[in-house]
Amino acid sequence: MSNFSIAELSAAEISKLVTSKEVTAREVAEQAISRIDAHEKDIHAFNQITPDMALAAADALDEKIAGGATAVELGPLAGAPVAFKDNMNLVGTNTTCSSKMLESYQSTYTCTAVQHLLDANTLPLGKLNMDEFAFGSSTENSAFGPTKNPWNTDCVPGGSSGGSAAAVAAGMVCATLGSDTGGSIRQPGAFTGTVACKPTYGRVSRYGCVAFASSLDQIGPFTKTVEDNALILNAICGKDDMDATSVEREPEDFTAHLGDDITGMKIALPTDMLETQGLDPEIKASIYEAAEKLAAAGAEIGEISLPHAKYGLSAYYVVGPAEASSNLARFDGIRYGHRVEDAEDVLDLYMRSRAEGFGPETIRRIMIGTYALSAGYYDAYYGKAQKVRTVIKQDFDDAFKDFDIILTPTTPTTSFKFGSKTTDPYAMYLSDVFTVAVNLAGNVGLSIPVGCAKADNMPIGLQLIGDHFQEQKVFHVAHALEDIYKFHSVPANLK
């Protein structure tokens, strides 16, 4: 069979074709490589393409299948073409974080989540573009040029995991991993019409993912379907001895309730958040429409208030840069990474290597964070931001006493044009207004596409927020929305 298409099929569907021997893994890998070749010059999703690695994994898988390995043994993702955000280490690749600082940095070990996907017999196609060190909402901060939105290449794919989102939306691969510190999975998910999940903090090991803000970062999947997303999370989640913040949980199957009736599921609309200034009226309308459709399917809709969520962005832009300023200190030119050749002394080496190696947004975040942690300012900034975090978390905890899911927009607007916000960092930061609170509180958040805006024909994503470790409920409701809207992540011209 050769008339299958990665752009049309989900990872689970491809895997079934491969394990039932209807197509070989090599055919899948080859198609992925040729699709990447065809579209990469327009999209620029990848920092590094690894055809040899994908073909080797494919051949190894084909050999297992030839040797009699069953679909159950190989797993539901066997043969699925995947790729990873370029802040995740994978031996055999460079891990650049889209920074000149790490342009030639070769991974010395493999990220736990990446390894889990390799162990699931997926085919690794490469490393994906991002905003430098995950600082940004458009991939315009990449040192290697921006990624384009497959729905309209004049528009940004969102960020910071823009490459991860675009690669799925362009049908280059079936699933990718991204990382989300304030919205860096969900926002590009919304902008590209993909299903994008930031799991509960502690659900997925962060080991091997270059840290932005340790207390906020979480790895999660981009896929075309809710089922794929749940399957990927099944594969990458779990306690890791290499990450002290990963959490031991009873094993569970995130696909368990996909397709189940949602009757009785309690869904909350945070009415105060929906009055946020700058929220696109079409997106606002889509929330109420989705609520109606969910109610029609049996869900109970209620209203809540999240009074402190509006302080989320302020707290986030203290906590995130503060931790980042410390996490990025190691990029000093001493052991690896960019180093000036003619340093006069160690201070000169540090200062010029970092000034040359980091882009402007990275330098801005380091400066904000360094300031916020400085003696005399700590209490006013970092200390205060942590208090805000506590009350935001309390808001969510209170809401989840009565509700299963909170439904919000993922972003205040749909994707925007390149260059439209680059001169105004604060306007760019507003992209995360609905997503940051979820990171601050550590909850699970998932963006699901519900259609395109009439104004610009760009995808709209809605965010489903669940209580800590309630991924099953989130996937359950997301699947119901998927059934209702039947949105296709890959635009027609790219199929």
Partner: protein, 518 residues
């Protein structure tokens, strides 16, 4: 440094000293936040991994055993164990810090508010002028005891080792090249901070020595000052006697022996006094004591400008220690040096001096205990004599350590036993001891081999004595005429006749009996 100069200065100024003592936890086999082995030396950068090299994306995972050792150290120094504690990041750029921040503890250390009692005797006593009146000082038989407060003990990761080539005094400033060995990076490092309770260089030395003994008794570290597994920094300031406010301090760093700690502080006290005498002001700075030139000098560093930007380590969750946990660790507490000293006096009947000397050396006391275990408690004093006299003398002349000689605790126990049961005399024992140090043979075998058995048979000695009385009638007469001192002459003659193997006590007894009643 003339001793009297220090004494003179201390009469006019009160020295206020606080110590910061870093100890590598060598008892754990692995580093603080990764699985790399903890060892000294080795091929540079051979014991490293992504975590302790600060590779992008690597995360620290705390070493539970190291935390438990720290809690144990806290319990041994009477600290309170924090029910809630956490790691912080101390941010600063330096090539010996792979992440450019050190994972340390800030306001929530594992242990706080403890104390250690030090004994000062001999020369150091006079330097403490207020020993009769100070609240934390108790006068003892041979000096005084002082209770020194422990502010805190926290846990952190050690830095890498750097070698600077071409810079002055091995410093980075002006170096042409700097090499970094990350083998040491990430080794668990306990930092103990004392209250400014120490008043003399001697007290500082005694404190550091006492702490080392406690750590060795716990087994938490090998405490090697040469290899850097125990490192002492000292803060020192002067003030007028009676003042309560602290003067401006200087910090002595990189002290690598107890003697340097004492001498460096003594130098610094005299140096500061000279400045104050002239109406000058002390500059707060870090200074280095050079053992060769015996002076301290300012380290050129920009440290005063440091803002470490401490914040809670977000890669780890805070620690909560309940009472059950602390009780479980407390069960691991061994007998500490002070308790052992008291037991030696109480149960072994040792003089205070013996008990003090034996317990002031970890290897010596362990050796002694083993010898007593083999020789029996009734011989505890005899074992102590042999260890403190014969063995110590031998160690001094040979330059060997307790564990480096051919003499084991079993040797000592057997030798003491041979004296105790009268097989050999104390005098013969000295000979056996010498043979023992040379060959490593067991004492009984040496006695056998050399035919050194002591004759305690009164009959055999009597016949010799009778023979001698015939041989020296005039001496007998002189003795009986009142020159009782001549008994020594006869003892000597008996010993000569019997090749020194006669039991001296029996000889004395027989002689007295025969001569008095002849």
């Amino acid at each position: 440094m003339a001793k009297d100069r220090l004494t003179e200065v201390l009469e006019r100024y009160e020295a206020v000293i606080g110590l910061e003592i870093h100890t590598e936890i060598t008892a754990t086999n692995t580093k603080m936040f990764c699985g790399c082995p903890v060892e000294f030396g080795g091929e540079p950068n051979s014991r490293v991994c992504p975590v302790c090299m600060g590779m992008p994306g690597a995360l620290p995972v705390p070493n539970k055993a190291a935390i438990e050792w720290t809690v144990l150290a806290g319990l041994a120094t009477e600290c309170k164990i924090a029910p809630w504690s956490q790691f912080h990041r101390k941010n600063y750029f330096y090539p010996d810090m792979p992440k450019d921040y050190q994972i340390s503890q800030y306001d929530l250390p594992f242990c706080a508010d403890g104390r250690v009692v030090i004994d000062v005797d001999e020369d150091g006593v006079e330097e403490r002028l207020d020993r009769e009146t100070a609240d934390n000082v108790t006068i003892t038989d041979d000096g005084y005891a002082a209770e020194i407060g422990i502010t805190r003990i926290h846990l952190e990761e050690d830095t890498a080792k750097m070698i600077h080539i071409g810079g002055a005094e091995g410093r980075i400033a002006g170096a042409k090249k700097s090499l970094v060995d990350f083998n040491r990076a990430g080794t668990p490092l306990m930092e103990l901070v004392t209250e400014p309770d120490l008043r003399t260089p001697e007290e500082a030395r005694r404190f550091a020595q006492k702490l080392r003994l406690i750590w060795l008794a716990l087994g938490v570290s090998d405490c090697s000052m040469e290899e850097g597994s125990m490192r002492v920094d000292a803060n020192i300031s002067l003030r007028n006697h009676g003042d309560t406010e602290l003067g401006t301090k200087t910090e002595l760093k990189n002290i690598n022996s107890f003697k340097s700690l004492h001498d460096g502080l003594a130098y610094e006290i005299v140096r500061q006094a000279a400045i104050l005498d002239e109406g000058g002001r002390i500059i707060q700075e870090t200074r280095h004591y050079d053992v060769t030139s015996k002076v301290t000098s300012a380290l050129r560093s920009k440290e005063e400008a440091h803002d470490y930007r401490y914040f809670p380590e977000p890669d780890m969750v805070p620690f909560q220690f309940d009472e059950a946990f602390v009780a479980r660790i407390r069960e691991r507490l061994p007998e500490l040096p002070d308790a052992r000293k008291a037991r030696f006096i109480r149960e072994y009947g040792l003089p205070t001096f013996d008990a003090k000397v034996l317990t002031s050396d970890h290897e010596m006391v362990e050796f002694y205990e083993e010898a007593v275990a083999a020789a029996g408690v009734k011989n505890a004093k005899a074992v102590s004599n042999m260890v403190l006299n014969d063995l110590s003398a031998y160690l001094n002349t040979s330059g060997l350590g307790v564990l480096e000689t051919k003499v084991s605790p079993q040797h000592i126990a057997e030798l003491v036993g041979l004296i105790d049961d009268g097989t050999i005399s104390s005098k013969q024992a000295k000979e056996v001891f010498t043979f023992m140090t040379e060959s490593g043979d067991m004492p009984a075998a040496i006695v056998e081999q050399k035919g050194m058995k002591q004759v305690s048979d009164a009959g055999a000695i009597e016949s010799v004595v009778e023979k001698l009385m015939v041989q020296f009638p005039d001496k007998v007469a002189e003795y009986q005429g009142g020159k009782k001192g001549l008994i020594g002459f006869f003892v000597g003659q008996v010993m000569r006749e019997m090749q020194g193997q006669a039991n001296p006590q029996v000889v004395n007894q027989v002689l007295a009996d025969k001569l008095d009643n002849a």
